[in-house]
Structure formats: C-alpha cells, structure tokens
Assembly symmetry: C2
Homo-oligomer: 500 residues x 2
C-alpha cells in the first residue's frame, strides 16, 4: 500500500529578485527620506502618497526605458464583478506602479481642479519592476521624487537643480563630492535640425547612438554614426551611415563642454547654428546657469554639461543628473567614480494622455538606495547601531523586578530590554547580549537584591579588555562593578556616555 504523501512544507524564501531589510538598513533609509522630505518641504513641495496599485490603463503600457509594451510591470486581472453571469464585464487589469511619475500624471489629471497651479509635489516609496534581477539589482526599490507640474518657466528647472544640490549636501555628501550636470534636449533637436536629417528613422538612430556616448566615447560615437563599429565582444554593430561632415555637429554637441559655463554656451551656440529650437535650448541653459548662479550655486555644484545624455530621448527640455565624483574601489579593486544617484528633466506631455491638454512639468528622482550605498561606502553610515541595555534574568520568579528595572531605564530614554528567552543558562543570556550588540548588561541576583545593589557589566569595555594583549592597563578599570540600585540609571547613563 502506498504511503499517504504529506503535502510538502512551503519554502521560506522571498520571491526571486526581492529581499528583506533589517535594523539599521531600515532606519537609515527612513532617516534619509525624512531629511530629503525636509528639504523638499522647505522648497514648498507638498507630500503625495498615491496607491501602490494602479489600473494598467492609467499607468500606461510601457516603462520609460524599455521598448516592449507591457514588459517590466507586475500586472493581474481582477475577478469580474458579475462573474459567472452571461455577458459578464471582464475585470480590470491592475498593476504595481513602476515609478512615481506615471501615478503623478494620473493624480494630477484626476484632481487638477483641487490642486494649486503650479503644483509642486514630492513622493517617496517603493516601486516595482518585473525585470530580470541581477547582483544588487532588485525588483522592488525606493524612489524619492519631486516634480513641479504646470510651470513652463525654466525657473522651475533651475529650482529643481538647486534643491537637488541642497538635498545631497543635507544627506551628507560634502560640496565637491558631487556635481549636478545640466543638458537640454532642445539643443540636441537644434543640432539634428542643422544636420538636415529629414527621415524620422534616421533621427531616432542618431538618438540611440548618442545614448551610447557614456560607454563608447567620442570615437565610438563617430564610428556608430558612420560605417559602424566592432564592439568589445567582437560583434560588428552597423552604423547610421552618416558622412564625417554630417556627424560633426553631433560630436561637437557632445564635446562642447568648455572651461566654464560661458565657454560651453558659446560652443553650443556654434553647434546649433541657425536653428531656432536649438537657440531656444541654449537660451534656456543660459537662464538656468544665471538663476542658480545668482543664488550662489557655482559651476562646482551645478554645471552646464552637454555630455549628459541619459534621458535625452525621453525628456523634452532641460535634463539633469547628479553624480557623486569621489572614487570607490569596484569589485575588482579598481578605482572608479561612484556615478549617478539622481536624474530628471522636463517632460511636457504628462497628463495629455488623460485630458488631451499639454501640461508642462519638470522633476527629479533620487535613487535612495544608491545614495545610501554611497554614504556607507564613505563610512558616513552603516555603523553598527548600539543595541539595548540587557537586563539578565537571575531568578525566574522575580520577573516583576526585572521589568521594573527595564521600565526605569526606558523612562530615562535608555533603550533597554529584559532577556525573555529561557533564563536557565546564564551563558546564553550573555551570548544574546553580545549578538544584540548590547552596551551594558545588568545583573540582579538574590544576593544583590538583598544588599540593594545591582551589577553593571560594561560590554564594550569588556570586549576591548578581552582583545588587549596586556591586561595590566585595564586593571584599574574593571568592566564589571556593583552600584547601589538607587544609582543604577545614572550609572548606566555614565557608561553609555563613556562609550561614545
């Protein structure tokens, strides 16, 4: 007779590409979001929290940076409301938001009559991407956005750049360790205009090539605009087929950064020639430079830089990117710059899908997880957080005494807990305190209780003594001593201060 098969136990695992965050990973992110929200708020931006779930219809069927429709999104169909009935209407398709901009478009279109114009809003929270996960690349991650909707003036773009600069400094990136770089899609449009590319397909091929400037550099772009290029893997990539002369304006645009903003702007004016849209673009960049300059943001903080190409295909006007410029060691021990932590720009068709009206908008998104990684890399975060004071349990029947001790400590603002595991083995209690990174353990056996004292164990000092080769230097500073019960709180405070 076959044995009855038990149903197998479920696997205790996150879905692929998801992860859990523990302790300081959570609290450091919360603190960073709070700091950023503080800056955004001071700039007059209002908080918005839209739902994580949107209809696929409202969200739009594409991500800004993937080509395939409907790819990259977690979506499902709701059960029909009149399921089983004849001619039942099918249920709505719902999806998790993949960024915070698409929901903003829906919110603005839905509530525009109740919102001020311009509407400055910030939003922070997780977004979800149904993409192949990779090392350090997760399918749920935090974004932190600020956008101004309904302001056509580039003063709104300049404000976002200034705010981005302030934000980076307030979360702990010192001046000089970051740069906000600004470019403008309109300048590029002007360049394309003077090149006389009439075919849309050709314009798009040029745009795609420009997107590779980061990776392949000037020579690579020249080859890709011309006959083509052998890439690192040995594959031959077909070129756009332009002549050297035709490619010149694009390369001039990409490499037009001069010694200062004035020089850059002059180079750009040359690159756009007689193009009207190009001239407008250069004017806008000039105005942004002048607006941020007037407020004291010099070119070491916010700079016009035509080599910023990320997002040029997506945005319609100014684009910005914040880069951290300090060097870190990559996984192979080579030095490299930390790179981009934030990007944004102007996009003027935000709500047109919904209302038919064009509404100008500009905004920025900060990659909070990358920014946290950068601060940890610089040793400005990620220190092990001090654990709680642990009150050990010497006598199971006197739990009320231990709870009273811990209550006194907490009321004095000291993080503290009673050991709640099985108290039989005192060694386990000390191991627990160690695992919790506890700074102080408190011991009150029946003997101490009778004499009105408690034992305090300075666990940080104790660990140092244990490490130290020579015990002599520590002998005048024992790591465990007796104090009157009535002085306990004050003495614990003193130990905590000595450990700082």
């Amino acid at each position: 007779m076959a044995k009855e098969k038990k149903s197998p136990r479920p696997k205790a695992e996150t879905p692929k590409g998801f992860r859990d965050y523990f302790g300081a990973e959570v609290t450091e992110r919360t603190e960073m979001l709070r700091t950023i929200a503080g800056v955004y708020h001071r700039y007059g931006f209002e908080a918005l929290e839209s739902s994580a779930v949107e209809t696929v219809e409202a969200l739009g069927k594409f991500l800004p940076d993937v080509d395939r429709p409907n790819a990259g999104v977690f979506a499902w169909q709701e059960a029909s409301e009149d399921e089983g009935k004849e001619n039942a209407k099918p249920g709505d398709w719902l999806a998790l938001r993949y960024d915070l901009t698409a929901p903003l478009a829906r919110v603005y279109a839905q509530h525009r009559n109740d919102l001020p114009t311009p509407y400055r809003r910030y939003a922070m929270g997780p977004v979800w991407r149904n993409e192949k996960p990779g090392p350090g690349r997760f399918r749920q991650f935090y974004q932190c956005d600020a956008d101004t909707v309904g302001a056509a003036s580039v003063a709104a773009d300049a404000e976002i750049c200034a705010m981005l600069s302030d934000t980076l400094e307030e979360v702990g990136i010192p001046r000089g360790d970051y740069i906000v770089r600004v470019n403008n899609r309109k300048v590029l449009n002007g360049v394309l205009e003077v090149m006389g590319l009439s075919e849309e397909a050709q314009r798009e091929a040029v745009l795609r090539t420009i997107d590779k400037f980061d990776k392949v550099g000037e020579d690579g772009v020249r080859q890709l605009l011309g006959k083509g290029r052998l890439d690192a893997s040995g594959a031959y990539i077909d070129g756009v087929g332009l002549s050297e002369a035709q490619a010149d304006p694009v390369v001039a645009f990409l490499t037009s950064k001069g010694a200062d903003n004035a020089a850059t702007l002059a180079n750009l004016r040359a690159a756009v020639g007689a193009s009207e849209i190009g001239s407008t673009g250069v004017d806008e960049l000039e105005e942004i430079a002048s607006l941020v300059g007037a407020q004291g943001y010099d070119a070491n903080r916010i700079v016009i830089d035509p080599s910023v190409v990320r997002g040029l295909g997506y945005y319609t006007g100014p684009v910005f990117e914040a880069e951290l410029t300090f060097e870190i060691l990559d996984e192979k021990g080579r030095k490299r710059q930390f790179g981009s932590v934030s990007g944004g720009g102007r996009y003027d068709d935000l709500v047109k899908r919904f209302t038919g009206q064009e509404v100008p908008a500009t905004g920025v998104s900060i990659g909070v997880d990358r920014l946290l990684a950068a601060l940890r890399e610089k040793g400005r975060m990620g220190r092990t957080e001090a654990g709680p004071v642990v009150v050990t349990v010497m006598d199971r029947d006197r739990m009320a005494d231990y709870q009273t001790i811990v209550g006194e400590l907490r009321r004095a603002g000291i993080r503290a807990e009673v050991y709640l595991g099985n108290p039989k083995n005192f060694g386990n209690q000390m191991k627990y305190a160690d695992r919790r990174n506890s700074p102080v353990a408190i011991i009150e056996g029946s003997d101490e209780k009778a004499r009105g004292v408690v034992q305090l164990k300075d666990l940080i000092l104790g660990a140092e003594i244990a490490k130290s080769a020579s015990l002599d230097e520590w002998k005048d500073r024992p790591s465990q001593y007796e104090v009157p019960r009535s002085e306990m709180v004050a003495r614990v405070k003193a130990i905590l201060e000595s450990q700082r």
Copy 2:
C-alpha cells in the same frame, strides 16, 4: 466611409477601493509612524522591512479572518522562466502581503540562524486586501506591528501590553482616554473543557457564538448557545443546542469582569473549575496583571477583561485589544465610543508551516489610519498646515532676484517658494498664495527694487481684517507694509511668530 476611431483616453482614476493621500495626511502619518517606531525601538525592538511581494506558497493561502482559501489576496502568476519550451516549469504565483505577520513567519524561518532569540521586531507599511471596499474601508492600508518571536514567557505578552500603553500616550491619547484589555484563549479552553463538549463541531459552534458577544450581548449569547435567536433582520438563527446549565460556564466566562483584577481573576478561577489548561490560563493572566502592575500600569490603563473576544479563535494564549474610550458622534449624530485601534495576542505556530518546529510568538498590530482618525476627531491633528511664503513675480526678467530672495528665506529655515505660474495676472498670484495657505507674500516691483525695499503682505492678518465688521480696530496694524530689503528675513520671521 466610416471615420477612423481614435483610441479612447484612459480614465484618470485609482482602482476601486484605493485612494491618494495629500499633504498633511501623508506627513501626519509619517510623524505618527516615527513616534511609534521610537517607542518600539526603546523597548529593544529592531526594524524589519520585508518585501511587499511574497510567493503565495510562503504567504499561506488564507487570511486570518476569512474562511475561503485564496480569497482576499491580490495574486498573479509569473511568466515561466523557460516559456515556450517543452515541459516548461510554470511560473511562481506571487501575491501582495495581506498583513505583516505572515511575512514575519517567512522571514523568521528563512533567517532564523542569523537572528537573535528571542527576536523582537517591528514593521510598518501598507498591506493589501482584495476585499469589497466600503465607506472608509480601503484595499490598501497601513499596519504597524511589533512581535516577539521565540519567547514562551508571558513576560513577553506583558511587555507588549505595556509598550502598547506607552505608544498610545506618546502619539497623543491621554491616560484615561484609552484602555488595554487582556483576555486569554486558554481560559476559554478550560471553560470548554469543564462543559464537557466532546465534539469538535460543537466546540467550534461555541467559539463562533462567543465571537458575537460584542454584538448580541449576554442574552443573545444565551439564546444562540441554546435554541436560537431571531436576529434584527427577522431571520431566525439556529442555536448550538446546549442546555441552560451547559451554557452557564460560557456566560460566566464572558461576564466575569469584577470590580478589580483580583475579583475578575477569582471569577475566572470559578468558571474554569478543575480544568488544568483553564487554571494555567488564569495563572498567566494573573502574572500579566502583576508584571504590568509592578511597573505602574494600573487597571485604568491595562486591565484583565474576559469580554475581549476578538481573535480568541485565532490566538493560542493571551489576547489584547486597545480601545479608545472617549465618545465621538457617529454619522447619525449619536454618541458612541471610538472603539478598537489595536489588537494582538500569542500565536505559537508561527513558523511551524515552514520548519515543522513550534516557535512561540506574541505581538500586536496598531491600525495607524484609525488612530490618526481618532486624533483628528479629538482635534489633536488635521489642522491645516501653514503653506510656504510666496514670493510674487512682478517683473518676469528679474527671476534671478526672486530666486535670491527665496534662497535667503530657505537658508533661514523658512518654507518659501517663488510663484512659477504665468506671472502676468497679479490677482492669480494672490489667489495661488491663498490656495497654498501662504502666511506671507513678498512683493518686489521695479520701484521697490530701486528703493532697496520689499512689500510684505501678512495674509493671515489680511484674512482676519477682511472678515472683521469694524475696520477701526485694525487700522493701526496694517496687513501690508514696506521693509528694507536687508531686514526682509528678520521681518518675515517676526510675522510668522506673530501668527502662531
């Protein structure tokens, strides 16, 4: 010829049962979560943020409070990794978490070797329920949980009750306006034992009846335990079929609350008679009362109350509930108590599904949105937040001047913004300032600029003057005046202080 049909515009709407949160709704919740996290942290609890998405397998196929399997959850199937191939493995079923306890079970089972024992953790964030939405009932809402995993001692339950009491006071519910009530499933088990109900079906029918005590009261429960009852709608509800005498112990249990904890405990001892599990349950309640009493939580804050029945079917030991006791007016203008804002208890099979081992656990969940509603009801929250100082644009070409003004204000810690809409119509700028609830508007036309002054408009005072019948009393306090440009920041600060 038929006209070509344009694809219809998408509807700008949240999915049914979801909503957006604006401004103070977001920031007040953030502040409350921060306060609660502060208390939890002080009690030694560690933050945990698990992913919003879990496998259906890990989540379990049921909600704690619905009967149908798989109901109540938003779930979808992932595309197969080797889609299109023969014998392709089907993709995983994924789902949004419906609470924070099921993910804790998965996290603890997955990481138990790296976590301290006992593991105290807190978690806060949205959860999703695929339920029929109703008024004030949304399909995404916040929970804020604290649980202790791996502690069998009721000291852990007592600690949670004390922490819940502290938390309510720190978020702004004064002592006397709330009560934490404690009951114990084991006492009920003892009652069922002395009743001699041998059939499981009968025990379950009794449990379901007890669940209705909140609604139908003592007489109703007696009828439902006996022959049955005519409910409010006129339908006859069949009873469990017990005799009066058999029903007595259940009713004695539910109504055993005495004048103080000692009296209640004596009544419970009588109700459980010789039952061992029942006696253990009463002992546990006695210990909880003694532990919290020793720390100064009297019965006006934490009380033994056998009429707490919510969750008695779900939990395995102590259960607790926090109720706000002040009265509010319901939608029909009748007074009623605000009611429950938090519940929890002990559940000892948390990770058994995953590991086969029983791990004791106890915890609490705070309904943050209800707590916020309560504080708004009491007028302790929900005041309109002060908007930013608005710098008006009198001269489009002097945007740099206005940005400089706003930069100075922000550096002084004052929330401020430049008007970024079309500046042509000054009236629109003032309407905007009004809509933003702006306290002060700043005006610098070319005349003011030439004279080195700015105009300050005290908008709060201005609104009061506009309301006031007699203008006389205001005539010495004009709401708009000129100040030297160099004194601007100090004078704005003074106005803001006068408005407090």
